[in-house]
């Protein structure tokens, strides 16, 4: 595609590991907003760069935040 193949994609670092957060908190919805698309879908791991453990927690946290109307299920 349009991307140059020779370049190695830079390894992204899990921001939750950097911050040494053990449990992703659904109450900090402002932070969770960074990990959803404009439409409110959860960003995939290959884009967010999160580790598997935190991505699982993040998904759950986003779903909880959605239930409590802290985040939208979809933006319209």
């Amino acid at each position: 595609m349009r991307r140059d193949r020779g370049r190695k994609p830079k390894r992204k670092i899990c921001s939750y590991c950097v911050d040494k957060i053990v449990n992703v908190d659904y109450k900090q919805y402002e932070k969770l907003k960074r990990f959803v698309t404009e439409r409110g879908k959860v960003l995939p791991r290959r884009i967010s760069g999160n580790c598997a453990k935190h991505q699982r927690q993040l998904t759950k946290a986003i779903k909880r935040a959605r239930i409590m109307a802290l985040m939208p299920f979809t933006s319209e």
Partner: protein, 181 residues
């Protein structure tokens, strides 16, 4: 015995004492079932991300308690019976978060004491808050308009094609950040 966190949303179109009744009723249910309420946090009035029962904002409360898991069905019954509660969630949490919440409540209680002297100032901020609400409302409308346009453009395309476009968009974002790193 387990540690639990309750988040609940209470209607804002009620009298202040009715709202408090909903909270005190809850703590009464927990106490009656043999649980101990550790902290009650007022999580303030927030705009809901989407309408719930035609309401656009709600008063959030956080209640932390320890007790037997058998309390939870009783709580759920209480929430369903109480009309003031429009949404609730009970989550099991670990000790660290439980204590952190208690600390936060203590810190807030201390802050409230100093705040009460500045009543006039808070009233001013309330006026500001309503002002921002109006602004966000108009933004929402604008967003809706944009949405309608994109839908009209992409009518012929299949679902998958639009999803792909979205992914590319998302992929492009971190790309832009790279030079900064």
């Amino acid at each position: 015995m387990g540690l639990y966190e309750i988040m609940m949303i209470i209607r804002t179109d009620l009298e202040a004492n009715e709202q408090e009744e909903a909270v005190s009723g809850l703590t009464a249910v927990i106490a009656k079932q043999g649980g101990t309420v550790s902290t009650v946090l007022d999580w303030r009035k927030r705009k809901l991300s989407y309408e719930i029962n035609k309401l656009r904002e709600g008063q959030y409360y956080l209640v932390y308690f320890s007790g037997d898991g058998a309390i939870i069905p009783e709580l759920e019954h209480y929430f369903r019976v109480t009309d003031a509660v429009i949404r609730y969630m009970v989550v099991a949490i670990d000790e660290k978060d439980f204590e952190a919440a208690a600390d936060k409540a203590a810190a807030e209680a201390a802050a409230v004491d100093t705040l009460q002297e500045e009543e006039a100032v808070t009233e001013e901020t309330e006026v500001l808050a309503t002002g921002t609400d109006e602004r966000t409302d108009t933004e929402d409308e604008e967003a809706e308009d944009e949405e309608a346009e994109t839908v009209a453009e992409g009518e012929d395309e299949t679902e998958d094609a639009s999803a792909d476009a979205e992914q590319q968009e998302a992929e492009a974002e971190p790309e832009e950040e790279k030079p900064a790193e």
